[in-house]
């Protein structure tokens, strides 16, 4: 057997004999998965909207901690010094290490995907694209892992360096916290981290338009991965006695940083920072013709469903009492994080009060809610409550009551109940907005599917109030 195959095989075997590696490589990603499942338990399809984040966290952990920890501990023990006595080229051993790590990451990703499917997630929209995107993400982070391995002089140094990259990527890099929830400055910073592009590329393959919709992300991942692999090879150290700061090759860190800066700069230059432009969901952006107003509003409309087409929905007038009674009223509590509604006696203060008043007044002449289609009008009004909730703005808990009061002023109770029920039974139909900036609330949810889910929850809560199931 060749040196490559033999070293590849032994790397895999040793990985599966290491209890700690199995814990970090397989159990931790599943813990993340369980945490996301609990956190987003009100999603229509469990975990589907979060597979990009979950897979990115797995690859990030395996490549930026697992790979360098193994390499550095072997170097510290003198294993690589012993390898150096053999007439085998460096690239053979490094490449077999990388390929073995890729197989380990792929197995962890497949396990995560399998468990997600087992708990009710539907199949990703583009499975082959997902594999390609996963490979690109692995390549980018394995390159990064190699650089960490060559910079760190000891295993504790791997942990320190890894955390310096892992945590910012998780928190402000768009990996664990959705970009829509981040302040604008953080969204700009995230453009310089490969984690953002990893999530985008993976999520586009799970729920979006596949590789075609994530070309920039794939390019960004390829660039950062190539820079990492080249620098990792140039910085390669066989011996623990060779220290990073004393090594002649340390200037090769420059190209790695340059690649990150180039990707971030390119994203800024191409205007890809704004969420509406590069949200992971595929979106067809259209400008609805303004009706009697001067302001055009961006509306995000999801693409038509593939065949077979569902049967045409029944008109809302045909909604029966059984339909209303048969709805699933298990929704998050009003005082929770998802779809909150402030109690009637909880009044907003200062800036929030100004915003709430502005929306209340703005709704009277809001053109979006003045079309001939009552269902679409109500759907847009639900978005006024759903968008701030998706972005987690301070005003989120006060606007639902404003919307509810506006709805009961505008429609008879029975008609409103039926329209809301129809929307709940047909959550994917019609259009939704991901921004209500024309009502004075800045920010965009980015992902229209979140807005639709939150609209669904508010519709249930409003029906509950209209039918007396919930407290007013």
């Amino acid at each position: 057997m060749s040196a490559f195959t033999e070293h590849f095989g032994i790397s895999l075997r040793l990985h599966f004999r290491n209890k700690m590696a199995l814990l970090y490589g397989y159990l931790f990603p599943l813990i993340f998965l369980a945490a996301f499942w609990v956190l987003y338990r009100y999603d229509k399809v469990p975990l589907l909207r979060h597979m990009g984040e979950l897979l990115t966290v797995s690859v990030l952990g395996g490549a930026c901690f697992g790979l360098p920890s193994t390499l550095v501990s072997e170097r510290e023990r003198g294993v690589w010094r012993r390898y150096r006595l053999a007439p085998v080229p460096t690239w053979t051993l490094v490449l077999s290490t990388i390929v073995a790590r890729y197989v380990i990451l792929l197995s962890a990703g497949l396990l995560q995907l399998g468990v997600a499917l087992a708990v009710g997630m539907t199949m990703p929209a583009h499975p082959v694209d997902l594999w390609v995107a996963f490979t690109a993400v692995s390549f980018a982070f394995i390159g990064l892992g190699l650089v960490i391995a060559m910079m760190a002089d000891s295993v504790p140094a791997v942990q320190a360096l890894g955390q310096c990259i892992f945590l910012p990527m998780l928190i402000i890099g768009g990996v664990a916290v959705q970009l829509a929830s981040l302040p604008e400055w953080a969204q700009h910073v995230s453009a310089f981290f490969p984690g953002r592009y990893a999530v985008e590329a993976l999520q586009a393959s799970v729920t979006g338009g596949g590789l075609g919709a994530s070309r920039f992300s794939l390019l960004a991942l390829a660039l950062t991965g190539a820079a990492g692999c080249v620098a990792g090879a140039r910085l390669f150290r066989w011996d623990a006695q060779q220290r990073f700061l004393a090594s002649a090759g340390k200037r090769w860190i420059g190209p790695v940083l340059a690649a990150w800066l180039a990707v971030g700069g390119l994203a800024e230059w191409r205007g890809r920072i704004a969420l509406a432009a590069d949200a992971p969901e595929p979106a067809i952006k259209v400008n609805l013709p303004p009706v009697n107003v001067a302001v055009a509003v961006n509306v995000t409309v999801e693409p038509a469903k593939p065949l077979p087409l569902p049967p045409p929905p029944a008109p809302w007038e045909k909604i029966t009492a059984q339909d209303i009674a048969g709805l699933d009223y298990r929704v998050p509590p009003d005082g929770g994080v998802v779809s909150p509604i402030a109690p009637e006696d909880d009044l907003p203060e200062d800036q929030t009060k100004t915003e709430v008043d502005g929306v209340r007044d703005g709704l009277i002449d809001w053109p979006m809610a003045k079309t001939a289609d009552d269902i679409q009008n109500v759907r847009y009004l639900l978005c006024v409550a759903a968008v701030p909730d998706a972005i987690q703005m301070p005003v989120e808990r006060y606007l639902p009551r404003v919307v509810y009061n506006h709805l009961i002023d505008k429609y008879p109770k029975e008609k409103l109940t039926k329209i809301l029920t129809w929307i709940v039974l047909h959550p994917e139909d019609g259009a939704a907005v991901d921004s209500i900036s024309d009502l004075g609330i800045d920010g965009a949810a980015g992902d229209p599917s979140i807005v639709r889910e939150r609209s669904y929850l508010y519709a249930i809560k409003f029906i509950g109030r209209l039918t007396g199931k919930f407290e007013p």
């Binding site: 057997m1 195959t5 150096r84 006595l85």
Partner: protein, 308 residues
């Protein structure tokens, strides 16, 4: 037959420190050659330059007829190396390690044969972290033989081993010679060098200060012999120091040690002195100079030369 290893004027610096300076020696086919010196003398650096772990600053290195500085990879195909401490991954087994390292070479020995030869068959499938120090070192030797090497280089192979494991390893090294292998061994154990090596080079402060067979080096030395005697009662040091040829006199109660280049003359005078003083001679030991004496003498004179 051409020499298996030729080292000429090898030099290596680490920053401002001259680790090896103009080291030269030759190793003939089929001999065990020892690099002997105290810690930090430059033995390991010399060896590491030969095996390609470090790049020499200057000098000529010829190994198995190849220029080791120009063709390091080809040289590696023909040599086997056991480092001072060979650590492998905790969970790898001897069988897997031998198979892995064999895959790195054109010429490959059968792992089963090596396991048998180095008494590791019973531990073939045991994890590395469960092996004893002696078993680990035997595995290191087995790894040095995975490519049926022409030349075997052993860097302080018995350091840290218990006496039993050392004896076993010495037997292995002598077996290598019987099998026709050429062996380069670095050590700071004088008894090991004296017992195993056909020839040695004594290296100190990065320079070779003597080369030859251990017996030749001893014979070439000053020829002084050490005398140890125990008397009852003790003899006064002032009386002993006046005896002909007495040097380096040390008295410790009834035990006296000194060196002399003329033992017959000195001991005749000593016997007369003891008889005259009615002192009983309890024990008398006269020893020829050992390799240790040669080594201490040479390294001491090097240090004194550098001071002056």
């Amino acid at each position: 037959m051409p020499a298996k290893v030729i080292v000429r004027d090898l030099s290596k610096r680490y920053g401002g420190v001259e680790a090896v300076c103009g080291v030269s020696f030759e190793i003939e086919q089929g001999e065990i050659f020892g690099l002997l010196g105290p810690n930090g003398a430059g033995k390991t650096t010399t060896l590491e330059c030969l095996v390609g772990l470090r790049e020499a600053d200057a000098g000529m290195l010829e190994v198995c007829g190849l220029d080791a500085r120009k063709e390091p990879r080809e040289v590696k195909q023909r040599i086997g190396v056991a480092l001072q401490s060979t650590a492998l991954q905790d969970k790898i087994t001897p069988r897997e390690a031998l198979k892995l390292f064999a895959s790195f070479y054109r010429e490959r020995a059968d792992p089963a044969v090596l396991l048998e030869r180095f008494a590791l068959t019973e531990k073939a499938d045991a994890r590395f972290d469960t092996l004893s120090g002696g078993q680990r070192q035997r595995l290191a030797l087995a790894l040095a033989f995975v490519n049926n090497p022409e030349l075997v280089l052993l860097d302080e192979p018995t350091t840290g081993l218990d006496p039993q494991a050392r004896r076993e390893l010495h037997a292995e090294i002598l077996q290598m010679k019987r099998d026709g292998h050429t062996v380069l061994l670095s050590t700071h154990y004088l008894d090991e060098a004296e017992q195993l090596c056909d020839r040695i080079a004594i290296i100190d402060h990065g320079r070779v200060i003597a080369t030859g067979a251990p017996r030749e080096l001893i014979a070439r030395s000053s020829g002084s012999q050490s005398v140890t005697l125990v008397t009852k009662p003790a003899v006064m040091a002032e009386q002993l120091v006046r005896l002909p040829g007495v040097k380096e006199l040390r008295c410790d109660g009834t035990t006296v040690r000194f060196r002399t280049e003329h033992p017959t003359e000195t001991l005749t005078a000593l016997a007369a002195l003891l008889a005259e003083r009615r002192v009983e001679l309890v024990e008398l030991v006269v020893k020829k100079a050992s390799l240790e004496d040669v080594f201490v003498g040479l390294t001491k004179s090097t240090a004194e030369g550098e001071k002056s």
